[in-house]
Symmetry: D3
Subunit: 266 residues, 6 copies
């Protein structure tokens, strides 16, 4: 079901029995070759497909199109909420869903820059609700859920999803080819490797995090190897993302609510 | 043009020459007969039509689906940001557009509860930018712009647009009939008139404002006379809304930037 | 009664039986000819007169002299709280009154720039109190309450109250002539009309709101036609403002508390 | 001069040459015998007298009637801003004065509960302005400025000013006897001494601060020995307060702006 | 006991029976001759000594090393939280202690700049807890508690403790001589006296507070007469500080919880 | 060098030439067998060892003992700042260091709950400084930096570091055996696996994050297999943590500042 199309009595009827899925996207520059809606378009397509597959299990909320993308603001077309503000937006949208009767909520994320502010929101929500309202609220970032094919398994050639890269370019070629300017695809210049920070996707996380505005790590706003993107790869990626998401949602719906374990031991 | 479909270099090329239009909507209960996306659906349709009419004049941003609807939270399906938070969201989205090069920005509003927080945002933005960046940033609420037909002129029978009323029901019957449950249309109970507060639409504003959660002024979440809505009325309303918006946008694009007038007098 | 002159046991005795009236004013430039206390002086005179007429019905709180006037800060003598801060001040003052036992509260406003932040405060207070404490809290802006004479009815010559205009000049000539520098009265330069924005008072609201600092819309800080102000007009305006306010207060005192209507229908 | 009565060009002319005096008061319970405006009434009388004495030296701003009195909220008639909010209000009012051209600003305080939030504001303002705008901004609490007569010197009998005490009762009997209910004067019950905390005025500060809501330290809202108040004592107190304030203001007007001393040494 | 060394069941066992002592320090410049940890080092030594003397009475929390020192930020090595942020930190640390079962909490302060923000925190905590949780939460600034020897009594030569002065230099020479660069001791230049503001320690508080960044009142970051510091003086100061603190803690542990006194009178 | 022991001129001399290392810890329950200072004690030992190894390369700041541990607040002894507040604390401490002249800053983290709020802080700092001040500011979480031995490589038996687990117990047995109550070591009860969420350490991250207060996922506050901890394992872990940190710091000191790459391409 799509929340958008339901009346309030309908939502009231189904809230307690279904999983609310709230897509969290971003409108931000994606290099010279991809539309600024890339993150929003992909996560929207993914969420709609999942809803089609599990129409009675989930209530699909309208996507939040704007995410936390302040690091891209030097590039036009980026519409961003600061990290702290985005955290608060997520908190209040989840509060609304809980107030409306949902106890199982999936924040379906399609933008790397959203991960930290959403986790910050989960900490706030946990402190607010755990002691009083049983609820399972999870953050799911689609490419992390989908597994190895988003981390360099064939047919992918570059080692991991980054930004406006082989992965996202492939997904857009598969889903919305009209939003890809293939002639503009260009591998960006990026800083020399220091062995710790994965400016692009070719170095693993080694326990060191550095946060820099995009113009300091990419000459054109893209990362990775967008020139290797193809629609065929995109189909494989998307199908796997859909399958892993549907699999997760089916299981998540059955997760029990957690109990206070202190009574059982001390 | 639609910002969603543009790359960042394209946005950079057009930002200074066009009007950015940012639709501000709401996801909230609309009585037992209308979908919770009513406000979002209407303003989205309106914005898309305007963009089709003036493709080279405006850059249509993705709509912000969630608005300030805390007064409706007692009804499921409402997804709301508090007034103060929504104000901050509007401020940061406009900051993003200005950072991206836009100097003419229209906040196209489709929800009454958004008006105050958006005006609060305009005051903040004025204080922040007026002294340094010339920009024309306006709030346009579509039914206020469209004039008499939204205020009781025939064929409309009730005196003014309120909420889930004759007007909105008509618009939805015209635009998205599948989202209207005609069999559920029911005039709500509301408080007795006190001569000052327009609980519904049948009393004019008399200089007194009172703010109450919806459950205190409507028994089912709707206001006005939804039973009088028809698709024919909806077409008239929508066409007039489109026409007045397009007229405004064409003129707004030509408004000059204002100058500090103190130099001219004292 | 005046709260200022009461002891706490006296306030405790009367709070539940009376209407608290809290005047909200502003200290801000009013052109070259009016004192910066114009808004505060007028609303104070009005509130005192109402208290004299209805001594047993209302408890008059001390006026909050400072309002939200950041748009006037380029002119000396303006003492302003930002819109967001003024909202919070209104929220806490109303919280104090409710804590003290008042259930009927009138925010008597005398400054246009306060309207939006007060409405923002009402939304916050509604969310905070509606579900638990029955209370009627209203915003009354005196010139909107007083009706046609404040909107161009004879003897007034200009179509509406704006700022340091025919209306306010007349009121000050009637109430505090020593605070009017008649020799300094001068119609300001303002931007050319664009048909939508009422830079002064001579164009009606057409659904478009734009917020600019005063120096961009007035060369000397005044608006409208202050040169047309007279003490005689001021008396007519003030008497009507008093009458309409007293009429309202008498009725407001009898308004019932609203009830949750959901029980009655679904 | 009184800012209230000046036009903006007048303020502009005098701001740089005068001292702005902003009285900061409180509306809060003052026991069963004093009006809730006690703090506001006293500081207002004091400020007006100083302005009368030094008409060309100071610009007297309208008093901020509401202070930080949350500890008194259990007693009706208290209208309070929380400490953090009051701090922000002071910050923005001072910002307004600086923006208007004042460089010498006196925050004339009449309420003990305001001292901490005003000092917090001074720290914020120092961080904001010191490096860029030369200004002398001071907090003056009138009874601390006035010296020994406010600390137990004859004719006063109790050792120090506290709240609704011998001192404030005396001042009110002198200035506004109609606001004193002599028949209600009653020494309150208070906690037993622990040797460190001056519940009332009879123990000196010993380096330990504890903050409790008034109802835990006074049975009727007053402190000290209000029954010892007389109008004669009030006159002595008030005259000394006026004299010390005028003396200070005359000197303060001549204080030089401070300079960065680092250049002179290292 | 030291909280640092306890397990959570141990803290749970002792929280209700002991006094929690939380040292609040600062890391900030202390002139050319003292280490930036001076405030932290002194208060840490003091707290440890008290814990050694009263091992079963108190639970010593780890010191908060960073305080509110924005006025010193022009000097390297200062690590500061703004006044408003430090207030919030104190609030949440006390909330944690109360949540953990402590009802007697001493905020042992070692930095003058912390006093105002801590008092601001106490006001917030009082408003939050007084009505529901009985607790005694006090601010103790060690040199104010210790009495005359910190205010000019022999052997001290300068009249009061200020900053990086005779007193702090003496304490450091006694406690951590290796952190004193005796050859760098130099009396700073400071502004000329105006008779009201104690730039250093040689003028008493006269009811006027002014807050300026350190570089405007000291040429090298120190105040007072550090050249008069000796280890012998330091021993006397420290011993007295320890004695007065232990005396206070022993008594504080026995203070009863306060009761609402309104029931007893009106 | 240790900042604590330096004077401000010394810090000024070395800030631009060295790496500032700021340890970020936590005071929170660590099961029935470990002291609440476990995270603080470990990261402090690590930082001191690194400073001893690289005395001329780094300036070691005093550790911030308190972290973001609200999820542990149901267990006494936890002293926590909320996630949003801890973010702000990190922001201001880094601002202080930058103001003091440091351009290379390492946030050395020893608590899992700090990771999200520190990343949130990095995003804020990037937005604030990137365009104006070249600086490299990194988050280093010691066990993520140290590599495989902290992820199940022999001699470790459980697959990953969690909380009060084999890893932390081993480190404490090596570093501070007096703070380990071996007789209290007990494997906690935890929820049944759902295949996605690593309640303890025995399931890998699969793209789904859920945040729950500790009492819902552990019956005694510990996680993993603390009973497998030994001092010998602790030595291996600690030595590797020190080695990897020193290696990183040596390289980090040489990292160049990043440049805006846009100039090079478009």
């Amino acid at each position: 079901m799509r929340l958008n199309e339901m009346t309030w009595p309908e939502v009231g009827t189904y809230a307690g029995k279904t999983v609310a899925v709230l897509p969290l996207a971003a409108i931000e520059q994606h290099g010279p070759h991809l539309a600024v809606s890339t993150d929003a378009s992909i996560v929207d397509a993914l969420a709609r497909r999942a809803e089609t597959s599990l129409p009675n299990e989930i209530v699909l909320c309208p996507p939040m199109p704007f995410g936390s993308s302040h690091h891209h603001l030097a590039f036009p077309g980026t519409m961003s909420l600061s990290a702290e503000l985005f955290t608060r937006v997520v908190v209040e949208l989840v509060q609304s869903l809980i107030k409306g009767g949902f106890h199982r909520i999936v924040l379906l994320n399609g933008h790397g820059g959203n991960i930290t502010p959403i986790k910050q929101a989960l900490a706030i929500l946990s402190h607010q609700f755990d002691a009083s309202i049983p609820a399972n609220i999870v953050l799911v970032t689609y490419w992390e859920l989908a597994g190895k094919v988003f981390a360099g398994a064939p047919p992918m050639e570059s080692p991991a999803l980054s930004h406006a890269c082989e992965y996202e370019t492939s997904l857009m070629l598969h889903l919305y080819p009209e939003m890809v300017h293939r002639e503009q695809v260009q591998r960006a210049q990026s800083p020399a490797s220091n062995g710790y920070i994965p400016w692009e996707e070719d170095e693993p996380y080694r326990g060191v995090a550095l946060f820099k505005k995009t113009q300091f790590i990419s000459s054109n706003g893209s990362s990775g190897e967008p020139q290797k993107g193809t629609a065929e790869k995109g189909k494989i990626l998307f199908d796997q993302a859909v399958a892993s998401l549907c699999q997760f949602l089916s299981e998540f719906k059955k997760w029990p609510m957690l109990e206070d374990l202190r009574n059982q031991s001390i």
